[in-house]
Amino acid sequence: MAAGGGGVADPLSPAGVPCAFSPQSQAYFALASTDGHLRVWETANNRLHQEYVPSAHLSGTCTCLAWAPARLQAKEGPQRKKRKSEAIGTSNQADLLALGTAVGSILLYSTVKGELHSKLISGGHDNRVNCIQWHQDNGCLYSCSDDKHIVEWNTQTCKVKCKWKGDNSSVSSLCISPDGKMLLSAGRTIKLWVLETKEVYRHFTGHATPVSSLTFTTIRPPNESQPFDGITGLYFLSGAVHDRLLNVWQVRSENKEKNAVMSFTVTDEPVFIDLTLSENKEEPVKLAVVCKDGQVHLFEHILNGYCKKPLTSNCTIQIATPGKGKKSTPKPIPILAAGFCSDKMSLLLVYGNWFQPTIERVALNSKEPHMCLIRDISNCWAPKVETAITKVRTPVMNSEAKVLVPGIPGHHAAVRPAPPQTKEVESKRKLGEKEVSIEERLGALDIATKKEKDDLPQTNSFPVLLTQGLESNDFEILNKVLQTRNLNLIKRTVLRMPLHAVIPLLQELTKRLQGHPNSAILMVQWLKCVLTVHASYLSTLPDLVPQLGTLYQLMESRVKTFQKLSHLHGKLILLITQVTASEKTKETTCPAQKAKLVYEEGKDLGHAFLAYCFHQDNWDEDEDEKASEKDEDVDEENEEEEGDDEDKDEENGEDRDVASEKELNGDSDLDPENESEEE
C-alpha cells in the first residue's frame, strides 16, 4: 500500500510523457518532454509552434497537462465597456494550457501570447500533481495529487475554491461527467463525486494498480425511455498502470453493482487514450489506445450491457522504418499519441521521438485487423531552423524521376499498329524469326569470324561488322562502326549492308538518337544515309508504321522549328542524292559476298519455309533472278519515290492523320532536316 511517491522513477507512475491535442479542431499538440520543455506542435504541418521552458523545469517537471476547453466567444459587441474583471465567464480560453508539476504547483500557460499566464500555488498541493481537468462550462479547474487531495480552482482569481481529501492513497486520475455535475476520481478504486456537495455518490472497484486514465464514453444512457438524470446509465472507461485491461463501468441507479461491465484488452500498458463519444444508441464508440509498446489499438463497440470476455481490438496500427536493402531490418517507430479527427474517420498519429515527433493524419477505412505503416523518419531528426522561418518545403527531385522530352517514347501517344490482321502476321513472323535466329546467328558468326581474320581495318568489313553487331546486339562492335565520322565510309557501308539489317539498324539508331546529343550528331549522318539509300526498300514494308513509329515521332518533334523549310530541304536533298546515287550505282556493283550469302540461303530452301523475313526473301529472290536488272529497278523506285513525295506533300497540307503512308513520308522527308538543324 504505497502512496505512489512523487518521483519520476516511480515504478507505478503512468508511462509515457504528458501530452494532449488542443480541443475542437486539434490544431495543436502539446507535449511536455522529460527535459522539462513544453513544446507545442502544429498538427497540420508538423511544425514546432512554440517552446516554453518553465523556470522551475528542473525541480518540478511537468507531470500532466490539459488544454482549456474552447468556448465560443460570448455575444458581446466590440464596444463593450465592461472591464475584464467583470466579464468573468464569457471568455474563450482555447489557448490556455494547464501544466501540473512534480512539486505540486500548477502553471497556466498562454499559447497565444507564448508566456506564463498564471501560477496556481497558494493553498494547493504539496506533492506531485497527477491529473488536471478543466470544467467544460464554468472555467474551474480540478486537480488531484499524491497528497491525497482533490482541489477545485477558480482560474479567474487563481485561488482554491475547495479542497477535499479524495482518497486514502494518492489520487491519480480525474474526469468530469458530460453534464458537468459529477466528478470521477481514482486512486486504485474509483469514486464518483457530486460536485456541488463534494460527497461520494458511487464507488467502483477499480484496478489493482493506480488508475492512469478515466474517460466518459457516452453522453446519453443506452435506454432512452427512462428519464435521464445526467449520470445514471452512462459508461466510462478506466485504464491503469501496468494493466493490459481497460475496464468499462456503468453508473447504475442501484448501488449494488461494483464490477466492470466489460473490458478491452491491449498488448501493453495504455499510455494515451482517445475516443469518439457516441451520441446515440446506434453509434458505436470508437476508441484508440496507444500502448507503451508503441502500438495503437482501435476498438469499435456499441456499449450495451455485460460482456464477460475481454474484447480484443478491431485494428492495430504499427509504424516501422522501411529497412533499406537486406542489411538493415525494419525497426518499429513508437506511436506517442493518437487522436480522432473531428470527422471521426481519420486519426492523427504522433510518432517518433519526443523531441521531434511526426504528426500524420491517417484515414481509417481498413477492414484489415492490422495496419503497418512504413515511414522513413530519418530525415526528420535534424532540427530545421531555416524551414521553420521560411516555411518552404522542397519536394524531392532526384534522378530516378522519369524524364520525357519530345521524341522519347511516352511523350506522345504511341503509334497504333495497323488493323489486328497484320498484327497476327507480325506475331507469326516474329515467332519464325526466333526459331531461325540461332542458326542464322551461327551462319553469320561463321562468316564474321572469317572476315575478321581476313581484314579488319578495311572498309569492306564495316557492313559485315555492322550486321554482326546488330544481330548479336554487341555494343562494342556497334560502337566501333557507328562512331565513325567519315561520311564516305558511312555511305559505302550503308550501301553495302544487307537489306534485312536495315530495320534493326534504324531501331538501333533511334535508340541512340534518344540518348546523348553528342552521339546523336553522328547518328544523324547514319540515319540520313540509310534513309536516302534504302528509301525504296522501306517504302515496300507494310508494317513500317509500328516498327519505325518512334523514329518518326522523334524526327517530327526535332524539326519543329522551320518545319516547312526543312521539309522542302529534305525533299530536295533526297531527290539530288537519289539521282546521283542512281548514277553511281551503275558503276558500283552490288556486294559480291552478300550475294553469296543470300545465295546460300536461297539454296537452303529447306529452311526457307521458316520464313526468315518476308521481305528479305522477296529481295533474295529478286537478287537471284534480277541481279542484272538491279540498276533499272533502282531508277524506277526512285521515280516512284518522287511521285510519292508529291502525293504526300498534298496530304501534309490536308491532314495530319497517322496513316502508314504518311509515316513513311515523314521518314523520308525528315532525315535531312536533322542535318539542317545541325547546320
Binding site: E42, R83, K119, V396
Partner: protein
C-alpha cells in the same frame, strides 16, 4: 442543430498585412498591422493573432501608439474617423470624427492633444499634412474638426513624411525635393536635387525619409538606391549631405534604430541592411528575406525590428539581425493562375504562393501551412526579368498525385513548358518527382485534370492545350531489373478540327471526358478514346465546363464567353436548357449535386439540374471574384431549410481580386471572423519571483519593525484595505484608465488622512491580518505596479493613521473613475 440565421458573406482571411508599417507595442510583446478594415494584433513570440480590432467601415490607413498611454492605439481610416483602442482587451475606447478621408496618421509625444493626419482635398494626387486637435470629452463619439495645415502637396505614402528630433521639425519628400518644416520657427526649408534628364541624375527621386531620433539628421532614400544623410538643414545654404550606396534598386524604406546609432534600409533585393554609425563601411546584412522589403519598423524598446514584405508577410527580426518569427498571410502573387484547390490529404487550400511555389493554406486557422517549392530555381528578384510561372496544378487520387505545369515565355515564339507529376511518398511524408515532361504541348496548357473516379484502376491525367490537342497521360509500370517504378506516359492524343482545346473535365464515374474546343464541346469515351458526340451552341467560346454529380450526372454544364449557361443532357445528347447568365466562376460541389456560379453582377446562384437557381445572394462583394472552391466539411451541418441545404456538406470559399478570401456562413460574423479570438479573462497572476522574495521580505521586515515600534508607543489599529472603498475602487480599476499616479497620489494620501471621529471604527490589531491583506493586494494587482508601490508606500508611511475616506472625497474618486479614461498616466 445550428440556429438558422440568414446566410451572409463573411471574410475569412487572406487580406493584406503589408499595407502600412507595422507598429510594435511598447514592451515588444505585440505587433499591430492594418489589414483591410481591421487592425490585427499579433503576438511577436508566437506569431498568433491575439485580437482583431474591428470597427472601421473602410480601409484602415494608419496606426500609431498613443504617445501618452502606451496601452492604447490610435488608428485612422478612409471612413474619416480616428479611433482609440485598448489593444490588450481589444476594446474600442473612443471615436473621433474628422470628416474627410484620412490617409496616414502620425503622433508626437510632445503634442499630446493632437495627432497629424494626411488628408486629400480636391485633386486626387494632392495630399496635405494637417494636425487634428483631439478634444477631451467623456463621450464615445467626438467630433474633431479642428484642423490646422502643416504641409501642402505631400506624397501619398506615409513613408515620405517623418518627424524628427522629438517633434521639432517634420520632413517630407516628393519627387525631387525635400522640405523640412520647423514647428518653432514655422518656416519651411526646401532642398531640391537635380532632376535633369541625363543619365546620372535621372533616378534621383526621393522614395522615403526617416529622421534621427536624437540628432538633427534626416535620411532619405532614392530611386537609384542611394541613401542621403542630410545635416545642417536649418540653413538653406550650409546644408550638407553624405551618400550611402549599396542598394542597386530603389530604397523602399528606411528606419533609424531607437538610439539612432544605426540606420536600417531595405528594398527589392530582399536584404535588410543595417548601417552602423551611418558609415558606408559599417554594414551588416540580413539576406534572403524572401521578397521585396516594403516597410521597416523598429520597436520602441529597441530589441526588435520588423520588415513587411511584398508577399504579405511580416518578419520579426532580433536586434542582432536574426529572424525570429514570421507572420504570414495569404501570399499575394502577381496573379493566381492555378485557381483554388483543396488538398485532399490535409484539407488545405492550395494556390499560387511565392514565385514558383504552391502555398498550402489552412482555412480553419487562417494561417499558411507551408510553401511547396515546385520550380526549384533561385528566384531573382529584379524588375524586367521574365520568370518561370506556375500556371496549372491539380491533385489526383486522394492527394497521391500532384501535377504542375510551369511556363516561361520570353518572346512570342519561345515558349518553355514543363509539366511535373509528383507522387506523394507516404514513407517520407512528402512529394517526390515522378515524371517530368518537357514541352508536353506546343502551346499554352489551358486545362489540367485528373480522373478522380473511385473505381478506375489506372490513373489518368488529361491536359488540354492551345495547340489544338489534348493529351491523355496514364500511369504505367516502368519497372526494370534495377528498380520497381511507375511513370506516366502519353496514351492518347486527341484533337478536333485544329480548334484550340480550352477546357477538359471528367464525369464523376470517369467514363466520359468532355473537352471543349473553342465553341464546341466534345465527349470522349475514356475506355477507347473514341469521340462519342459533340455539342455546339455557337454562343462563343466555352469558358467553364463541368459535369453534374450524383443524381445529376447525366448533365453537362457549360458557360460561354457570351454569357450563356447551357445544360446538355448526355443521354439524349440534346440541349436541356440554357439561360442568359454571364457566369465568371463556376464550381461543382464534390459532395452534392450543387454547382455554384458567380456572375459578373456579383449575384450568386446555386444551380442544380434545373435552370432554377437554388439560392441567390446578391452583391457579395465590392470587387471582382476570381476563383471559387467548395471545401468539404469535416462534420456535416444539418440545415433543413432549402436555402441553407447546399451548405450542409461543403462550404464555398471564393477569392477576390484584392486576394481576400470570403465565404458564406450562417454564423454571426463575430464568431466567424475571430474563430480563435483570444480573450484572456482569467486574471493574470504571475508567480512570485526570487526578486519578490528578496524585496517583499525586506519590505515586510521593515513594516514589522515599524509596527513593533509603533506598538511600543501605542496600539495601532489597521483596518483592512479591502474595507476602505476608495482603495478597493482604485485597485479594481485597470491601470491604463487611471489618472496619472502623481495626480492620484496627493488626493489618495489625503483621503487616507485620519479624521478624528472615525478613529475607533474598526479594530484590527493582529498583524497576521495585515499580512493577509498584503497578500491579497499582491495577487490582485500584479499588473498595476505603480499602484502597488503607491499603496504600500502609503501603508508604510501612514501606518499610524486610520484609513478612512470622507464621503465627499470618495465621490470625487469615483467621479474620476467614471469621467475620463484618457488621463495621462505617466507610467
Amino acid at each position: 442543430m445550428v440556429e438558422e440565421e440568414g446566410i451572409r458573406v463573411v471574410r475569412c482571411g487572406g487580406s493584406e498585412l503589408n499595407f502600412r508599417r507595422a507598429v510594435f507595442s511598447a514592451d515588444s510583446k505585440y505587433i499591430f498591422c492594418v489589414s483591410g478594415d481591421f487592425i490585427k494584433v499579433y503576438s511577436t513570440a508566437t506569431e498568433e493573432c491575439v485580437h482583431i480590432l474591428q470597427g472601421h467601415r473602410n480601409l484602415v490607413t494608419g496606426i500609431q501608439l498613443n504617445p501618452s498611454n502606451h496601452l492604447q492605439l490610435y488608428s485612422c481610416s478612409v471612413d474619416g474617423t480616428i479611433k482609440l483602442w485598448d489593444y490588450i482587451d481589444g476594446i474600442l475606447i473612443k471615436t473621433f470624427r474628422v470628416g474627410c478621408e484620412l490617409h496616414a496618421l502620425f503622433t508626437l509625444s510632445c503634442a499630446e492633444d493632437s495627432v497629424f493626419v494626411m488628408i486629400n482635398k480636391g485633386k486626387p494626387d494632392v495630399f496635405q499634412l494637417a494636425s487634428v486637435k483631439l478634444p477631451k470629452s467623456s463621450s464615445q463619439e467626438i467630433e474633431a474638426k479642428e484642423l490646422s495645415f502643416v504641409l501642402d502637396y505631400v506624397n501619398q505614402s506615409p513613408k515620405c513624411i517623418a518627424f524628427g528630433n522629438e517633434g521639432e521639425y517634420v520632413a517630407a519628400v516628393r519627387d525631387f525635393y525635400l522640405s523640412v518644416y520647423f514647428f518653432k520657427k514655422k518656416t519651411t526649408t526646401r532642398f531640391t536635387l537635380s532632376s535633369s534628364r541625363n543619365k546620372k541624375h535621372a533616378r534621383n527621386n526621393f522614395t522615403c525619409v526617416a529622421c534621427h531620433p536624437k540628432e538633427d539628421c534626416i535620411a532619405t532614400g532614392h530611386k537609384d538606391g542611394k541613401i542621403r544623410l542630410w545635416r545642417n538643414f536649418d540653413d538653406e545654404k550650409k546644408y550638407t549631405y553624405t551618400c550611402l550606396h549599396w542598394h542597386h534598386d530603389l530604397v523602399m524604406d528606411l528606419a533609424f534604430s531607437v538610439t539612432g546609432s544605426s540606420l536600417l534600409s531595405g528594398g527589392r533585393e530582399s536584404v535588410l541592411v543595417e548601417w552602423r554609425e551611418a558609415a558606408e563601411k559599417n554594414k551588416e546584412f540580413l539576406p534572403r528575406l524572401g521578397a521585396t522589403i516594403e516597410h521597416i519598423s523598429v520597436s520602441p524598446a529597441g530589441d526588435l525590428f520588423c520588415t513587411s514584405h511584398s508577399d504579405n508577410k511580416i518578419t520579426i527580426i532580433h536586434r542582432n539581425l536574426e529572424a525570429s518569427a514570421v507572420i504570414q498571410g495569404l501570399v499575394k502573387d502577381r496573379s493566381i493562375f492555378t485557381g483554388l484547390m483543396i488538398d485532399p490529404r490535409t484539407k488545405a487550400l492550395v494556390l499560387n504562393g511565392k514565385p514558383g511555389h504552391l502555398q498550402f493554406y489552412s482555412l480553419q486557422s487562417d494561417k499558411q501551412l507551408y510553401n511547396l517549392d515546385i520550380i526549384q530555381q533561385e528566384y531573382i528578384n529584379d524588375s524586367g526579368l521574365i520568370q518561370i510561372e506556375l500556371t496549372k496544378a491539380a491533385f489526383g487520387c486522394y492527394g497521391n498525385w500532384l501535377a504542375t505545369v510551369e511556363q516561361r515565355q520570353e518572346k512570342e515564339t519561345e515558349l518553355e513548358l514543363q509539366m511535373k507529376i509528383w507522387m506523394y511518398n507516404k514513407k517520407t511524408q512528402g512529394f517526390v518527382l515522378n515524371t517530368k515532361v518537357n514541352m508536353p504541348h506546343e502551346d499554352h496548357i489551358t486545362a489540367l485534370c485528373f480522373c478522380n473516379a473511385e473505381k478506375s484502376e489506372s490513373s489518368t491525367l488529361v491536359t488540354a492545350s492551345k495547340d489544338g490537342h489534348f493529351k491523355v497521360w496514364i500511369l504505367t509500370d516502368d519497372s526494370d531489373i534495377y528498380k520497381k517504378a511507375v511513370g506516366w506516359t502519353c496514351d492518347f492524343v486527341g484533337s478536333y478540327h485544329k480548334y484550340q482545346a480550352t477546357n477538359c473535365c471528367f464525369s464523376e464515374d470517369g467514363s466520359l471526358l468532355a473537352v471543349s474546343f473553342e465553341e464546341i464541346v466534345t465527349i470522349w469515351d475514356s475506355e477507347t478514346w473514341e469521340l462519342k458526340c459533340t455539342f455546339c451552341q455557337r454562343a462563343g467560346k466555352i469558358r467553364h465546363l463541368c459535369f453534374g454529380r450524383l443524381t445529376c450526372s447525366k448533365y453537362l454544364l457549360g458557360v460561354t464567353e457570351n454569357g450563356i449557361l447551357c445544360c446538355w443532357n448526355l443521354l439524349s445528347c440534346a440541349l436541356e436548357w440554357s439561360t442568359k447568365l454571364n457566369v465568371r466562376v463556376m464550381e461543382p460541389d464534390p459532395n452534392s449535386e450543387n454547382i455554384a456560379a458567380i456572375t459578373q453582377s456579383s449575384a450568386r446562384t446555386n444551380l442544380c439540374h434545373e435552370p432554377r437557381p437554388l439560392y441567390i445572394q446578391k452583391n457579395i462583394c465590392r470587387e471582382e471574384v476570381l476563383w471559387g472552391v467548395f471545401v468539404p466539411r469535416d462534420v456535416p451541418e444539418s440545415f433543413t431549410s432549402e436555402a441553407h441545404q447546399w451548405l450542409n456538406r461543403s462550404q464555398f470559399y471564393f477569392l477576390t481580386k484584392s486576394q481576400s478570401l470570403l465565404t458564406f456562413s450562417t454564423q454571426s460574423p463575430e464568431e466567424k471572423l475571430t474563430p480563435t479570438s483570444k480573450q484572456l479573462l482569467a486574471e493574470e497572476s504571475l508567480p512570485t519571483t526570487p526578486f519578490y522574495f528578496l524585496l517583499g521580505k525586506h519590505r515586510q521586515q521593515q513594516q514589522n519593525d515599524k509596527l513593533n515600534e509603533a506598538l511600543e508607543n501605542e496600539l495601532v489599529q489597521l483596518p483592512l484595505t479591502e474595507n476602505i472603498p476608495a482603495i478597493s475602487e482604485l485597485l479594481h480599476t485597470p491601470a491604463h484608465v487611471l489618472p496619472s499616479a502623481s495626480f492620484l497620489c496627493s488626493m489618495f494620501v489625503n483621503s487616507l488622512l485620519l479624521s478624528t471621529e472615525t478613529k475607533s471604527a474598526e479594530e484590527n490589531p493582529d498583524d497576521v491580518d495585515m499580512e493577509e491583506e498584503k497578500e491579497s493586494d499582491d495577487s490582485d494587482e500584479e499588473n498595476n505596479f505603480t499602484e502597488k508601490i503607491q499603496d504600500t508606500n502609503n501603508t508604510d508611511l501612514e501606518e499610524d493613521i486610520i484609513h478612512q475616506l470622507s464621503k465627499s472625497e470618495e465621490k470625487e474618486l469615483k467621479k474620476f473613475r467614471k469621467v475620463d479614461y484618457s488621463w495621462i498616466a505617466a507610467l
